[in-house]
Symmetry: C2
Subunit: 338 residues, 2 copies
């Protein structure tokens, strides 16, 4: 186990490196932090930290920079989550309160998060899997053409066109609409299939085909839309990445364009609490030079989706974590209110 002072040295190295973006040497360390010991002592400590793999030298006779393992220790043991200042909190609340609908909430959230952390923000739309049904509507557009509209408790609306196998009368339509709603409103998506499976049987033979079609489209929508959407923002912050950045930024932009990658990334984050993945801890190769800070958010006590930021491993972890957590909370509140 590392001594108290060595941990302190590591913390100082991380803080300085994050601030200056340059390898930090023993002399600079003692000057900028009151460690109570001389540079020589710090050098010894650094040698140990390097042996243990927490820091590294880009080249002989340069200062040290933290390794992924060093950041990991920093995040786990040395850094707290820095709470936002109250002006900041007020600003968040004001900004999010102005949102008019779900798209707007998500859009504002991603901009806010990007601005607050000065990094790339990723916000997932509230998942349908854990949502409940607020209303199902069936509209007749033509004799054999229906539109299905599905409204969730998080305000999301999905619609689908349905071509019926046979013309479907207005009374049957009203009937189906009423029965559907009485069974599924307030229920979770996951429960819907079970709740509607026997519906066709209660209709006249001639209508059963259409009812089945409608149900299959409904179920399909539930499944398809479980495949989540997300939006990203603040990509221009990538330009502050580092000196050698053409080579750094390319794979990151590519990874960010692959929604699949991002969804997997957020999916890997634990449901409760904040997840920080540092450098090579990220499965995706293009993100090996980045860290991801993610957290779940939701309208109630349960997370319905996740949000987070992607930035260089050399990031201000306490500040970033504080911002991410605060934003997630406020978004949750907003969703609960609407």
């Amino acid at each position: 186990m590392l001594s108290e002072r060595r941990l302190e040295v590591l913390r100082a190295i991380v803080q300085d490196y994050v601030g200056t973006e340059e390898p930090v040497g023993s002399k600079a360390l003692t000057e900028r932090h009151s460690l109570g010991v001389s540079p020589a002592t710090v050098r010894n400590d650094m040698a140990v930290l390097e042996d243990e793999g927490f820091i590294a030298q880009p080249h002989t006779s340069a200062g040290r920079i933290p390794t992924d393992k060093g950041y990991r220790l920093f995040v786990d043991k040395l850094a707290g989550v820095k709470p936002l200042s109250s002006p900041e909190r007020r600003a968040i609340q004001n900004f999010l309160d102005g949102a008019v609908d779900l798209d707007d909430v998500v859009g504002r959230t991603v901009r806010l998060l990007a601005q607050l952390t000065r990094q790339v923000a990723v916000v997932q739309y509230p998942s349908l899997t854990r949502s409940t049904v607020r209303h199902v509507e069936l509209l007749s557009l033509a004799p054999a053409r229906l539109m299905l509209v599905l409204i969730t408790d998080t305000g999301r609306v999905e619609q689908r066109m349905i071509d019926c196998p046979a013309p479907f009368g207005d009374t049957s339509l009203a009937d189906l609409r009423a029965r559907l709603n009485s069974r599924v409103v307030g229920r979770r998506f996951a429960d819907v299939p079970r709740l509607v499976q026997d519906l066709p049987e209660s209709f006249e033979t001639e209508d059963r085909g259409t009812v089945s079609t409608v149900l299959s489209v409904l179920l399909e929508t539930l499944v398809e839309e479980t495949e989540e959407r997300l939006i990203i923002g603040g990509t221009s912050n990538l330009t502050r990445f580092g000196h050698d950045f053409p080579v750094m930024i390319r794979p990151v932009l590519e990874a960010l364009e692959e929604q699949v990658v991002l969804l997997k990334l957020l999916g890997e984050a634990t449901d409760s609490g904040m997840t920080v993945r540092i450098g090579h801890e990220n499965a995706h190769e293009g993100l090996n030079a980045t860290s991801v800070v993610a957290v779940g958010y939701g309208s109630g006590d349960e997370a319905v989706a996740k949000l987070g930021v992607v930035g260089p491993t050399r990031m201000d972890y306490p500040g970033t974590m504080g911002a991410v957590r605060a934003v997630a909370r406020y978004v949750g509140q907003i969703l609960a209110e609407s």
Copy 2:
């Protein structure tokens, strides 16, 4: 007026520079193009072209590169639109045919365009202004709470919650729904306000407040949603921008994040035909080093929205224009079918 050969020299310069990304000299030009004259002659022509402002030298004793004005002449007079190969066309069609709904169409389009041109693609959602109403639906969620659903002929769906000033009976609701639809279905958004303005008068006094509320929400939706949405893709292509690109790419990413800027950009494009804005022709400062190729697309003969690409001024104009035009056409077809 420039002689035929000088134009030919300009064309050669543009082509070579686009290909190699390096200033092109007189010797290289004569070697790679059969101009039928010697380097010395080409040098004289280049001197003239430079006097006229079509090309420039980064520094004395370097080759020439085209100026914005040079690209402008190239696009206007020297370059055709390069049609896509038929395998490419088939690929486009297959890719777009797989789309399941409007979001999917737009999403696929943007990816396709980015891939085809290897640049940043921008696709605007079909505008509501020129759309017509397919259906208006009113749902009663609670005694004094309604949901308004608006469906357009381009498949777009908008919904709004409405809190009524007074409870609203089911018969009144059905009545309002029927009258609304009979007046506005098939009509253009722009005409809707005129068509519904006298509706409240035909209802009982106690319902007039609610009817007015519903109408005002409807009109509000029409106006609000005229504020268009758009999506972008292929930002990682920016990394192929140039050598000195941190400084180049930053303002571009920032501009791309400002939806307002992009909408204005597309809005400036003429409705019919293709618009090419080169370098400083773009009003936005951050895009002074980029060119924008945009074109309208629509389900019928009229454009309902625009799409295009943003890339370095040093781009393959004929190829890009060909891809943009082809994609716009196929998207139009897809929209017309659905």
